[in-house]
Symmetry: D2
Subunit: 389 residues, 4 copies
């Protein structure tokens, strides 16, 4: 892994200055203060498309330099880590370029707009010397990390069902205006890709299992929305549903929506096993509800104890974390993977697996709900992985 040179601080560049660029900048600015065991870094360059705004953002967010030329930035010798926070259709080109330049790469989710593009990115990552990580930040919610640990430790027995929803309300108003997020050509899909990708990643992360069968349905409740020059057609889903079969026998039901009044950012997960259950709601990020045993009762755990996952560097018990803390912990794990030369988690391959499920939901919907079998696809991936390593 040639990207890391001795004890020199790692040089970081972030591509993208919008919402995600801000969130990732916060992570780079704080990771060393929270987690003392990570390699030293320098916030070298923030890249954006508009010179003036990028300069202002770089100043405010703590970057040494601003740039509008991402291609030269990913080639620079003093850059070791390239963090891709641009819109989804730019992920592939930027990430592959950075990987080919020998850099470590973090890509904000979703990995790509479709499975074919994701496959190319996985292939690039397999060839490259750098660490390639995908930014499903909710894996770094301490409560969800605790849930994963409890499940892995068998604390709720064998998982039988997962009930998941990700509900938001920002499109509930029929007069909410048209945006690029509502066109298939620019966004790929709607609630499915934006929210469903997080849900599917959590299903895989919490269970450690693979999706082998998919039945899905998509709905666009509001077929037109006001554009600057009159009504425009919405070409992505407002809401989506899926039923997933997992390889070891569990079933997951999923609902995602951008038209759920009263729900701002409600990623709700409920996992039932043969010997207990866990439940979570992102709007109460610091809490996990744990039912231990067949006769147990749901206990509300405030996941802020030092012995809980991801919490060693924060505050004393009871002092809750915010949404941005997940990016800080994600950055720490990337830095640790770089230091250890170990594969990061989630990987590009995880992103591809999620993308395949998303694609299958769309195909199932087009086929009237019929089940799409993914078991062959996954075996194929495993086979290829074996031969190329």
């Amino acid at each position: 892994m040639s990207a890391r040179q001795g004890k020199r601080p790692l040089g970081v560049a972030v591509l993208g200055t919008a919402f995600m660029g801000r969130a990732h900048s916060s992570a780079w600015r704080n990771v060393g203060a929270v987690f003392r065991d990570v390699p030293e870094l320098r916030m070298r360059v923030l890249c954006g498309s508009d010179a003036e705004r990028t300069r202002a953002a770089a100043d405010a967010l703590g970057w040494h330099e601003a740039s509008t030329d991402w291609r030269s930035v990913v080639e620079r010798d003093d850059i070791d880590v390239v963090d891709v926070c641009t819109p989804g259709h730019l992920h592939s080109e930027m990430a592959i370029a950075a990987l080919e330049a020998g850099k470590h790469v973090l890509v904000e989710k979703p990995l790509a707009l479709d499975a074919a593009e994701a496959e190319r990115m996985v292939a690039a990552a397999e060839r490259a010397p750098g660490v390639a990580m995908l930014g499903f930040n909710y894996r770094r919610v301490p409560a969800l990390a605790l849930a994963r640990r409890l499940i892995a430790d068998g604390r709720i027995g064998e998982v039988r069902s997962i009930r998941a929803a990700y509900l938001q309300d920002w499109l509930v108003d029929p007069e909410a205006p048209m945006t690029w997020r509502l066109r298939a050509e620019t966004a790929g899909s709607g609630a499915l890709g934006d929210l469903g990708s997080h849900v599917i990643d959590q299903v895989r992360s919490l269970t450690g299992d693979e999706v082998v069968g998919v039945r899905g349905a998509l709905r666009t409740f509001q077929p037109e929305r006001p554009g600057p020059a009159g009504p425009e057609r919405v070409s992505v889903d407002d809401a989506a549903w899926a039923l997933l079969d997992l390889a070891r026998g569990a079933t997951a039901s999923i609902e995602v929506s951008r038209v759920a009044a009263g729900r701002k950012n409600a990623l709700e997960l409920e996992v039932h096993g043969t010997d207990g259950a866990i439940a979570f709601d992102l709007e109460r990020l610091n809490e996990l509800t744990v039912t231990s045993g067949r006769d147990g009762w749901p206990a509300r755990v405030l996941v802020t104890e030092a012995h809980h996952p991801l919490l060693e560097g924060w505050w004393p018990p009871g002092h809750v974390l915010g949404w941005d803390s997940t990016f800080t912990a994600q950055a720490a794990d990337l830095l640790r993977a770089i230091a250890a030369g170990a594969p990061p988690e989630p990987s590009f391959a995880d992103g591809l697996a999620v993308q395949r499920v998303l694609d299958a939901v769309g195909r199932s919907d087009a086929a009237g709900g019929a089940r799409i079998d993914l078991s062959e696809t996954d075996q194929g991936h495993d086979d290829r992985a074996e031969t190329t390593r």
Copy 2:
């Protein structure tokens, strides 16, 4: 409607002495004390299969007589109302006999074991002079009645999605023993019919809309359970999922399970509209969460005010009701329907509509999840109703 003779108190008979017989007896014992506007009644006969146990139950539950001969009871002149609380496979014969004897009939849900049997019962009800009511008692949960009123009044706008679950835990233990409820020949289906029927009735009741398309899936997690002479095969579902298309464009997602650790009797309903939302959990029977407007926040309404539906006869605000109160209110509505000569709600036709959806879930599962179109079936029902009335 000849079954009602002047001002003589109505004579009531309950068929069945088990759980439901007890619950309905409680209703008949208390309805006159709570609701002052209902016709007077007499608790005349409790029918059961075992003479001694029926006698003891009749004494304890407030009945004048006990009987083991239901056929003669439903013929008696002093019986005006026959309340069928026996296991499902006896509903059809008893209800039809009572209707043909000119009685008013209340049948505990489910109406029948399949749609064909339900159709015969609907036909019998259409021919008979008496009132024929189906016992979906959750329609008489004040919070759900309030939800229905709010939705009907347009308080959450046009309904777009319903998210429903009915989760119990009594089969979570793989060693839970075999019972008749786990065999298709005696129970019809598993969680689907037992729990799903309530959920589907609520979807119809809350929206006032019909199900026109069904995609479904069934799962039996525990294929064998211990019987007296060794392992026996479970032939019904432990859990079921369905996605329902409603005629006016809403989508309902449903999950029912008897293997959900930590959930005792959790009927959860969440309805999202273009202008708000409501949410309910049967474990908190006296509460309704109401989100008013697109920018509203979920408010917890304690549904115990005198102006809330079904509450005029109970206690002052803040004094919560129990599960059994739903049967008392159901009995009151039956008595009022009898007094008014008006069709009761829910009717046998409602039971048939639910049964058709349940059947369609099973057919969709058998077909790999493909969508079953019920729009023709429903039109057929409406046509027949028009020609026979």
Copy 3:
């Protein structure tokens, strides 16, 4: 105990036809159906002040007779149990008359208007052959009975503090009209006696301990309210606070209010011990939150299991009980005490103990908050009890 004659069913009379008369009638009507182990009873007479209304109430509520002459009723040979549900200023006279006539007596709380009157009632109960029980119905909330059991079993260690509130909102409106409940001469006190008596009874019941010191404060936020002929002076408290020292070292803080917007009937109790905690809210009557151990997390227990206290006669797990169920269980316990010839719980002496605390709150407030020592008073009571038995 002469009041019980062989196996003849016990004849019951209720005095009072208003809210409490209705609630107690419900209990007598249902107790035999729910609890199979209790002596048989007959609902003989309902007594009220208005002949016509009492007749109508008796018919509706299931009584054989109506009467407006309570004095003759409590003398009747066919009456074994007299249940006093009249306003507080009538309790003493009626209860003492019934006790002197050899009857078993149940008195709705509060026992009396002041400690002196309560002392006379305790003395009458000690002299009389019948069972004398006080109606603090919340002792029969299953969740509170479970809390008491858990605490008695040492499951939360040694109790250190109790945090209690009983909050209602019916006087929050400054224009809410004057009633007898807002005059000291008819009601004794305001929120203190009405709500505080329940809270103090729970403190004693949950801990099994005695109050030995009291600091209190009373507030009347709305000094005048509209009467029929203009503004009238409110002479009782709208809200009260107290800090109680218990004999074994715990401290209880109490707040009661009738002007707490948004709270309908919120009796909230929280008990902290050296090894855990419990919490309860009457608006969620079927739930108890239990924290087990110093490192435990609050678990939400749905108190509807057959093995939970008071639940053997009701419904399967998860089928919640209503507020009225507490009166049914109270009636059962009275009947059991009669059958066993055992002292009931709570006794008149419990009522007196509560009254002494209530009185002390008023005295402390008058003294600017200074601590009132009740340890001598309680010893006095114990001494007298010893000498008179």
Copy 4:
């Protein structure tokens, strides 16, 4: 206000490297990225007592320099803001020195160990050119800032009562070891000063009113705790209670405890007015429960909207903030006060007012609960303020 020189970035020094030093460092590191309207700053010096540890902390937390000589630091020309995060007994000396050196000063709460010391600090602040701010960080919880705004706007009418608690569990174990926090000479008081100061500040902040009467009680449940050489005497309170009279007629009840099992950091506030109520729990920092109007129901507001207070610089709606965000917002408000030359909030005078209430709780307890009148004291303060300005 001579401490601010033109457009040069403000030089900041933090005194203290422990828990609060870390939290305040986080604020200085992030304030410019979140709030774009604040003056530029430089994180110049971190001061601690141990050279090596201070050096390491400075590196990790983003400081240019480390120092063990706070006296020289507060004199440096390139330091404009001195942020005192040391233990309470050092606050007075450090803050006064910095103020006398012409610096802007932020002091972490509590202002001082007693009212006399606090008075000297207030006097120094009144004499000095710099801005003097006190660090009650919970004033910058968005939900509490929203509560304050709603109350100030009359949205719940006239405030009548405040019910507040701050419950923690870290001393619930009787074997928890002795520390300096449990000795009066080093800590002043126990739960009272540590937790009660926050509660009292909130009472004043939310109502905008002054405390004019105090009744209090203190308890030490565990009089001895294990020290290195055997049991040692605990000389501060484990728990405290107070009843506060506010000048405009409201009453506040307060309970604070470090021995409340199951509660990690539960600052619970409930404010009832003539026309509504608000409720808050710090363990759910991003939520405010709002009851609007006399007939309103408690609505759960997720306080993450851009139009909510303090939220303009953070994330989109539904993306929750953590505890540390309060320090970032506090730093922003200090910087804005410096830029505007305006008095900051809370001021040292606010800290003195809180300290006087804390002292009065202790005096009331010593006097058996008798009410301590603070109205004269407060008038005195106002008079002095008038004469010295």
